[in-house]
Symmetry: C2
Subunit: 236 residues, 2 copies
């Protein structure tokens, strides 16, 4: 994990520990530098991350304020760390349905910009929230980047593992989604009826250097899924 | 519009005019400063906006690259400018169903953090894409901020009008959504059947100082709606 990412996490903890809510003002830059014992560029970069993430907003000439999120039980759709962070008040579990080192499907190869004969880790999981079925997720990880996975890792947080153990620096992600009707197989996994509504979400995760390394496809049950996004910096 | 926002727009035009695609490298900072005749802080802030927006990505020690979006016909869910920008290759139209200066509903008042007796502009529109019904949108604008609207403005881009004519600086937005089944009235507007799938999206738009000024609620037809988001700065 890079230093400014570590400080961003500590700033989040600071906001939480001090029970700060929307509109609360953070200490000025100089005081934050002293508090966290870092340079101005590190604290600035950490604050940028939190601004992008929607944790804070900065008002020129006025200060840095807590933005926070404000609807309980909503999932942060942009949170690459999956469910753990945005649903920490809920019991979330993963059931491994399938895991294999294999060749990518055509769709996965296209989205990862790799050849059809490049090895990937394929992981299929059923996620539950408070015991209820939330979604079915299929992921394809480039094996050249995500060199090793096992049952225990994929039942916990794959992203925690690859950032911490494999020291992979994750950059940006492209997310695509649409609403549709469940087919019979999907409905079976989610305990719903065929043709019930569902959210289909595809994500492509990239390293900081722009290389795609993870393509995932998730089908969410309409009964358990509420999402939020905190968007920034309106561009006219 | 602020200067760095103007430069961000010009940079987007530069990328488009030069037909740049994902992975293409932009000129270095010094050359961009000369090209656009602005200070380093202005160009840096403009690049930050484009990074947040997913137009570019920056690789430390390597340069600034075009990120671009890559699926045709998808709507940028985070684009506050509505549909005009992300669907510019499509024919999008708005049919005004209702417009009034009125008191907010309880839901709108809560989301805008205003009293029940503070006046709002209420605007209800049906949006079409290529002649097909895309969504029904209801918006509540604080009249103290959006002081004037008329039929022509709301049939074009309300956001263009309030940033350009009213000189309002739009900051961040909170977006909430879930998947559900259409009720009879919604189905009627969208030309679908009751219980068909739909995406329900609520947005709260804020000024740069953090004040909420627009609450909108959109029901999307599942047949026309495909969305994309370009997320940034993964935080482990």
């Amino acid at each position: 994990m890079l230093k400014y990412q570590k400080i961003a996490r500590e700033l989040e903890k600071y906001i939480e520990d001090n029970a700060m809510v929307r509109g609360d003002k953070l200490p000025i830059l100089d005081d934050l530098m002293k508090e966290f014992e870092v340079s101005k560029s590190t604290i600035t970069k950490a604050l940028e991350i939190l601004e992008v993430k929607g944790t804070i907003y900065q008002v020129r000439g006025s200060g840095i304020f807590v933005r926070g999120h404000n609807r309980k039980g909503y999932i942060n759709l942009l949170s690459n760390q999956g469910f753990r962070q945005s649903l920490k008040d809920f019991e979330v579990s993963s059931e491994l349905l399938e895991m294999a080192v294999t060749m990518p499907t055509k769709e996965a190869a296209t989205n990862l910009s790799i050849d059809m004969d490049e090895e990937v880790y394929y992981v299929k999981r059923l996620r539950r929230i408070q015991g209820q079925r939330l979604c079915v997720e299929e992921s394809y990880f480039k094996k050249s980047i995500v060199t090793y996975l096992n049952e225990q890792i994929v039942s916990e947080s794959i992203f925690d593992y690859i950032t911490e153990a494999l020291n992979v620096n994750i950059g940006f992600s492209d997310i695509f989604f649409h609403v549709g009707k469940l087919n019979k197989k999907e409905a079976g996994y989610l305990g719903l009826k065929q043709d019930d509504p569902a959210l289909y979400k595809e994500s492509i995760y990239h390293l900081v250097n722009g290389e795609a390394f993870d393509f995932s496809r998730i089908v969410y049950s309409y009964q358990q899924s509420q999402f939020y996004i905190q968007a920034n910096n309106y561009l006219p």
